[in-house]
Symmetry: C2
Subunit: 197 residues, 2 copies
């Protein structure tokens, strides 16, 4: 059709979440029409991101610095840690601007059926942070799914001996909903209505 | 949130046709999770495409060779040219495998209201191809829109002196389509284009 370069571009674009074969072709065409203005800048942004972005060793966030921008910010409440399932959830909370503490990204939820146990989660660094002291409260901001609830209960018990208050996000998270698709107001309400877990 | 590199990646992904801000974030996250396996290969494919792909000087197709793969294929009917609005239309016809001749990409349609005149289309190379001789038929495969119809009428008259047969794609009920979901214009065209059964 247009050589192997175009075929490969369409193939890889089609693997992006949210893009099927048809929209991948449309995206490729839009980019190929403006190689200098659109295709190269996106290629460079990707290369730059691939070279610089890493996982924060402290909290599990993705950032071009390690410790990440959130962990490095002295103005954030160092005694308050919000535990989320994934980086997308962290992004959603940051967009909403409703959490002024730090985060901890679990990288998943417990799923006995899916064979995902505590050893598969980013758990040891969280325990180390609590043992280091200075953490007043841990907010469990997990999705209202079966796995989210399982993980929340398990974490509540596991973290209780640390002495920190363990709370969880409350009203506002719809049943069966994932955190990263919620609107800002719902996220704010959920954080405000947190209860002892 | 995660540094300027991530912000820029999301911003540029969000400009792809078919990706809004939310799906751009999802795509960025999917890529950032596997920088070596997914982000870098896509960046390289884009760079490669930007470096090699150009517009075929003969027909207006996008290809890493010039003349393009279609124009260079000696097995294709050199006397039959299919005129399309954009490269996406050429791709669609090639996927269908229904045209064994060459193409000519106009790069748009006439739009008096939009201020797009004949001088804005890839027209001179088409006239040059007809003047060079050997073209038996020109098929106008333009969309069934006001602009498509305008362009088709104008081109029919403009190309008539060349001596080649000027035809246009048929209009009617799409394959697999039910009658009761079609718009009035399509139904009218289908009735007009009726043939002995």
């Amino acid at each position: 059709m247009g050589g192997p370069e175009i075929e490969r571009l369409i193939e890889l674009l089609g693997k992006l979440p949210g893009l099927g074969p048809r929209s991948a072709r449309r995206a490729a065409l839009g980019l190929l029409r403006q190689p200098q203005a659109r295709l190269l800048p996106l290629a460079n942004a990707m290369e730059q991101a691939a070279r610089t972005v890493r996982t924060c060793a402290r909290c599990g966030n993705l950032d071009s610095r390690d410790p990440c921008t959130v962990c490095s910010d002295p103005n954030r409440d160092q005694g308050l840690i919000c535990v989320v399932e994934g980086v997308g959830d962290l992004w959603a909370l940051e967009r909403a601007g409703v959490h002024r503490g730090l985060y901890h990204v679990l990288g998943g939820t417990l799923s006995p059926l899916g064979g995902i146990g505590p050893e598969d989660l980013n758990l040891s660094p969280l325990l180390a942070r609590l043992e280091a002291g200075g953490v007043r409260e841990v907010i469990l901001a997990l999705g209202a799914t079966v796995e989210g609830a399982t993980t929340q209960h398990w974490l509540s018990e596991r973290l209780a001996p640390s002495g920190a208050t363990i709370s969880r996000v409350g009203q506002g998270v719809p049943m069966g909903g994932a955190l990263d698709v919620l609107d800002d107001g719902t996220l704010a309400a959920a954080l405000m209505a947190r209860r002892a877990s």
